[in-house]
Amino acid sequence: DDNRQSASATNATELSLVLDYTPNTNHTGIYVAQSLGYYAEEGISLTIVSPPEDGADALIGAGSVQLGISYQDVMANYLASSTPLPYTAIGAVVQHNTSGIMSRQEDGITRPRAMEGHQYATWNQDVEQAMIRDIMAYDGGDYSKIELVPYAVDDEVAGLRSNAFDCVWVYEGWAVQNASLQNFAYSYFPFIDYDDSLDYYTPVIAANNEFLAKNADTARAFMRATRRGYEYAASNPSDAARILVEAVPELDAQLVAKSAEYLAGKYIDDASEWGYIDKDRWARFYQWLNDNGLVETTLDVDAGFTNDYLA
C-alpha cells in the first residue's frame, strides 16, 4: 500500500498552479481535489503557489507555472497587448459574474441610478469605470453625478461603516457575506441585472499554451480532478469550507463557511457541467470591450478560451 503510493507519487506529473489572489472560496474545489487525493488519482502532483500582486498572469504566460487562476477581463488586457501572453482560459470557476455594488441600506442605493450624488470608491481602472457608466446608462442614471473617491480600504464593510464612501464594487461571495456575517445592514445589486454583456467569466482557470499543446492529456486529467473538487464543494459546502480552512488556517472560518454556502450554488449554476464557457457570453463581453475602446488593440472576440480540456 505504502509502496504503491510512493511509487505513484514519484511517477506523478508535477504541475504548479498559481492563484490569482490570497486563497479564498473561489479556490475551494482545487483545495478539495488536492486534499481528497483527486489529483493523485489522476497521477498529478499539484503545487499551489500564491502570486505576487497582479503577477499571476505573467507567470502563467512565461510558463513558470502551467496553470493558474485569472479573469476574463484581466485576460483581455494581456491578449490585446502588442506582445500577447501565450495562455488560454480552459474552464470557468464560477458560471456567472457574481459582482455588484454594495452600499449602506439606509442610503437606498438599490439600483445604479441611485448612485447619483453618492461617493463611489473607484479602483481607478478604465474597465471598471466603463462598467459603472454602462449600467448607469442602462438604468437611466447620469454617471457624471457620481462622486469618485479612491478605493483605499481592504474591508468594504468597514469602509461603508466609516463613511469613507457610499458604494463600492464587491464580490457577492465574499464582501457581501462578510456584511451579513457582521449584521451590517446593506444594499446590493449585481451588474448582470442591468447589462448581459457584463456577465463575463470571473474567475477562470487559465493554462499556458505550450503546456496545453504538449500535454493535452495531463491538462484533461487536471480538469477532471478539479471538476470533482468543485462538484464536491457544490454539494458539501461545509465540508469543503473545512478543508479550505485546514489548508489555509489564516482564513476566517466563519466567513469561509458562509461564503462556501453561497458559492455552492454558483460554481455550476445553470451550466451543463462545471467549467463550461459559453462562446456567446465570452464573445459578448469582449465585443463590449472593443466597442467601448477599452483595449489596446481590437480583441478577437472568439479567442482566449476553450472547452476542449473539460471532457
Binding site: D54, G61, A62, S81, L85, A152, A164
Partner: protein
C-alpha cells in the same frame, strides 16, 4: 594628500562621464537581455518601447510627476524637520530619548497598508495622508544619523565651550551640530532617496494624481512599457534630488575641502 586639488577638466569629465556610461551600459544590457530572449518581452519592454511610451505619455507623466514632486518635497522637508527636532530633543533629554526610541522603531515597522484606512478616515483623500506617510518614512534615517552625530562630539570641545560660559544651545550650535553634519547628510541622502518612492507608495493609498496613481493604472491595465516609463521617471527624479543634496552638502560644509581623500 595635501597638494592643491587638481580638479582638472579631465577629472570633471570623469565625474560626469562614468555615471553616464554606466547608465548607458545598463540600458544596453537590458536591451540585449530582451532581444536575446533571456527575459520575455511580454514581461519587460525594451528600452526603445519604454522610450516610446515616455514620449507619447510625456505630458501626462509630467503633470503626475509634478504632484508627486510636491508631495515628496513637502514630506521630505517635514520629515527632515521632524527628524531634526526629535534628534535634538532626544540628545538633550535622556528621558525623551528613552521614551521615543521604541516608538520611533515601532513607527517604522507598521506596514502602510495596515494603517492606510485609518489615515484616509482621519485625513481624507487629499495630499495630507500622503505627506504623513512620506514624513514617517523620511524622518527616521535623519533622526538616527543625527543622534549618532551628536554623541560623536569630542567631550573636550564641549569642555572648552563650557569654560567660555556657553549655554547648551551654544554647545549645540558650535560643536554638536557641525560635528553631526557628516552624519546628517548621510541620513539625508538615505531619506531623499526614499522620498520620491515613498510618495509613489503613498499614492497607492488612492488619489487622482501622482506617479503612484499613474503607475497603478498602467499596471492594472498591464502596460508594461508605460510602467517602466514611470519607473524611469521615478529614478530620474530621485537622482536629481540626491544631486541637490550633494550640492547642498558642499555648500554647508565648506571646511571639508575635498569630498573624497583618494
Amino acid at each position: 594628500m595635501k597638494h592643491a586639488p587638481s580638479d582638472t577638466t579631465s577629472r570633471k569629465a570623469k565625474r560626469i562621464g562614468i555615471p553616464l556610461a554606466v547608465v548607458a551600459g545598463t540600458i544596453i544590457c537590458w536591451h540585449l537581455a530582451i532581444i536575446s530572449g533571456l527575459v520575455p518581452n511580454f514581461l519587460m519592454p525594451t528600452p526603445l518601447q519604454v522610450a516610446q511610451a515616455l514620449a507619447s505619455d510625456w505630458q501626462l507623466l509630467a503633470s503626475h510627476a509634478g504632484t508627486t514632486l510636491v508631495e515628496a518635497a513637502i514630506g521630505l522637508a517635514a520629515g527632515v524637520a521632524l527628524g531634526f527636532v526629535a534628534a535634538v530633543a532626544m540628545d538633550r533629554f535622556e528621558v525623551i530619548y528613552l521614551a521615543l526610541s521604541p516608538l520611533i522603531t515601532i513607527s517604522q515597522t507598521i506596514p502602510t497598508v495596515a494603517i492606510a484606512p485609518l489615515l484616509v478616515l482621519w485625513l481624507g483623500y487629499g495630499i495630507l495622508p500622503k505627506i504623513v506617510l512620506i514624513t514617517l518614512t523620511t524622518f527616521f534615517p535623519v533622526a538616527i544619523s543625527l543622534i549618532a552625530g551628536f554623541t560623536s562630539v569630542d567631550p573636550d570641545t564641549v569642555n572648552m565651550l563650557r569654560s567660555m560660559g556657553a549655554s547648551r544651545w551654544d554647545i549645540f550650535r558650535y560643536a554638536k551640530l557641525p560635528e553631526a553634519a557628516d552624519h546628517f547628510f548621510s541620513g539625508l541622502k538615505i531619506s531623499a532617496t526614499y522620498a520620491i518612492i515613498g510618495a509613489v507608495i503613498a499614492e497607492w493609498l488612492g488619489g487622482d494624481a501622482g506617479l503612484g496613481v499613474y503607475m497603478t493604472r498602467v499596471r492594472k491595465s498591464f502596460s508594461y512599457d508605460r510602467m517602466f516609463a514611470v519607473i524611469i521617471v521615478i529614478s530620474a527624479l530621485s537622482l536629481m534630488l540626491i544631486k541637490i543634496i550633494d550640492i547642498l552638502k558642499k555648500i554647508c560644509m565648506p571646511w571639508k575641502h575635498t569630498e573624497r581623500n583618494e
